[in-house]
């Protein structure tokens, strides 16, 4: 495609008044400031306010500068959507965050599809027509790509939601020849997009290719995500997030809209970086995640994994309470099991009691503890644990050697020393928390049989200085609290 051709894309938008373009720029900058605020909890609330302001500016500017044939309907749509959104946001449990993000995500995808379809049906409203009354070639490409990415995001996120929410089994569903089918469908979409772009001869709304692309894309989203295990869903959600960002940026090119371009770049970068962080912390390649088949069950269920009859030291809540009460320094390592059991509140009570007895208590968070980035931090924050008692892996790992008790609650993989020593282990190379350096290590889990997300045996359970507390995390901590009182 030559430059002059591409250049024509912005033709219509060039007529936009200056103040409007300035407003969209300001909206984009507000979004930058929204993410910037997240660099510390203290500034984060102001950041969120910037985000809302930016969205307000973008919406109002658009409403004011377009002809408002259907203002009442629009207001109804906003109010309806807003009411649903607010209700969901207020009611949702913090432990359900991964699902919620996936669900919201599917909505963005679907909205993108609808906008692309609307642009295809009524290109004149978007200023996408050339002199001959046909949709510009470049707009066709952007439109088809926008619709396809939106559709993939939608159906992919729906599956991710279902797997995370337990509405469907998290087990990977492996079709035969799935890689071939997927690659074939994607190739077909690309070919059809090119054909659609070159089909300038048909008037607006006439080519059925657009709709065929859409259906194929919905199918691809479904096929791509189905074979990926439930526990890998956070990486998938983040990846889809990134895609949808690039799709928004593409639409920004079409409309010459700075706010969309900036948002697209921000969201695209955010999704990509979070996927990268997760993959790196799990020491897996992005390709291996996407190829699927890993991570048997998002719930870390109790009936799979190794169940050898090896000796281990079991303890009761009273034993644990005694050890904790005697300690000078306790480091708590929460994991996915704490989230499942919703044990964060009672855990906070326990730490308050310990602090009352003069015990120094700190929390150690592994970058991929739980099932989404920052998962543990949100839950602890919900339970009113001050964030300055919560430490990242690099900042606290050297302190285990000085701790009397490492209190591991529902975490497994993130403490597994096999990651340091066993080259054949699937988690080899992942950084782990050195809980075994503490004088005593306590593990709360429901059974010796249940493995973690990676499905590998943890040698620490059988060490002399380890004590296993086998029960649901919430119940166990409640009993410890009673014993401490």
């Amino acid at each position: 495609m030559t430059l002059p051709l591409l250049l024509a894309a912005g033709g219509a938008a060039a007529a936009t008044p200056d103040w409007v373009r300035l407003a969209y720029l300001v909206a984009g900058i507000c979004f930058v400031l929204a993410l910037r605020g997240l660099s510390s909890p203290a500034s984060s609330r102001r950041g969120n306010a910037y985000g809302m302001a930016g969205m307000g500016i973008a919406v109002v500017t658009t409403l004011v500068t377009h002809d408002l044939a259907s203002l009442p309907e629009i207001l109804v749509a906003i109010l309806l959507g807003g009411a649903i959104g607010l209700t969901v946001a207020r009611r949702i449990a913090m432990t359900a965050m991964p699902q919620l993000v996936a669900a919201f995500h599917s909505l963005v995808g679907l909205a993108a599809v609808l906008v692309a379809a609307a642009a295809f049906v009524n290109p004149g409203a978007f200023g996408l027509l050339d002199a001959g009354g046909q949709i510009l070639t470049v707009s066709r490409i952007e439109m088809a790509l926008g619709a396809a990415i939106g559709a993939i995001t939608f159906s992919g996120s729906v599956i991710a939601f279902a797997k995370l929410n337990g509405s469907m089994s998290g087990a990977p569903i492996l079709l035969p020849a799935r890689h071939l089918i997927n690659l074939g469908t994607i190739a077909a979409i690309i070919a059809m997009t090119i054909a659609f772009a070159l089909s300038g001869a048909g008037g607006a709304g006439e080519s059925p290719l657009f709709w065929i692309i859409l259906v194929a894309a919905f199918a691809v989203g479904f096929l791509l995500i189905i074979p990926i295990g439930g526990a890998d869903m956070p990486v998938v959600v983040s990846m889809l997030n990134s895609y949808s960002g690039w799709a928004a940026a593409a639409m920004g090119f079409t409309l010459g809209n700075t706010a969309m371009i900036i948002t697209g770049a921000l969201v695209g970068a955010s999704g990509a970086i979070l996927s990268y962080i997760m993959c790196r912390a799990m020491n897996r390649s992005f390709i291996s995640v996407i190829a699927g088949g890993f991570g048997q069950d998002g719930g870390g269920g109790g009936d799979k994994g190794p169940a050898l009859d090896r000796p281990y030291k079991a303890g009761s809540a009273d034993d644990a309470a005694f050890l904790l009460g005697q300690a000078d320094k306790v480091i708590i390592v929460p994991g996915y099991g704490m989230a499942v059991a919703q044990a964060q509140h009672v855990l906070r009570e326990m730490t308050d009691l310990l602090k009352g007895k003069g015990v120094e208590v700190k929390f150690a968070i592994h970058p991929v503890a739980g099932r989404m980035p920052g998962h543990m931090n949100v839950l602890l924050a919900e339970a009113n644990v001050p964030y300055d008692e919560v430490f990242e892996l690099e900042d606290i790992n050297s302190e285990f050697a000085q701790a009397d008790v490492a209190f591991v609650i529902g975490a497994n993989d993130v403490t597994n020393p096999a990651a340091k020593t066993d080259k054949s282990s699937p988690i080899y190379g992942m950084p782990v928390l050195d809980v075994e350096k503490a004088r005593t290590t306590l593990f709360i889990k429901r059974s010796m049989g249940g493995a973690g997300y990676a499905g590998v045996e943890n040698e620490l359970f059988y060490k002399d200085k380890t004590m296993m507390l086998l029960a649901d995390a919430k119940k166990m901590v409640e009993e410890i609290v009673k014993a401490l009182d």
Binding site: G54, I74, F104, H105, I273, E382
Partner: protein, 95 residues
């Protein structure tokens, strides 16, 4: 706006995105996911254009549906983020 200007803005925005996301503290990665979700609903701009335009009723209803979906996300996304962020507190008022 012409293509080169848009491209320039896009390229610089990618740099900004890269840096600004890396500067987010890991403890706030979950709110980050929620807020990027909310701001990516800026495609509501496209939805509003479609919904507001006279001419094609089909496009209008597609647009209205998109407005509603994006609104769920905007209101839901920002308010759930706010709810999460309100929970991050410093030492002082511990229980």
């Amino acid at each position: 706006m012409d293509f080169i200007s848009i491209l320039s803005i896009f390229v610089l925005a990618c740099f900004v995105g890269y840096y600004v996301v890396w500067s987010v503290t890991p403890a706030l990665h979950t709110p980050l996911m929620a807020v990027t979700n909310a701001i990516s609903s800026v495609i509501i701009v496209g939805a509003l254009i479609a919904a507001a335009a006279a001419g094609s009723p089909l496009a209008k209803w597609l647009g209205l549906a998109a407005v509603a979906l994006a609104s769920v996300n905007i209101f839901g996304g920002f308010s759930v983020t706010q709810r999460m962020l309100a929970m991050y507190k410093k030492k002082e008022r511990k229980g």
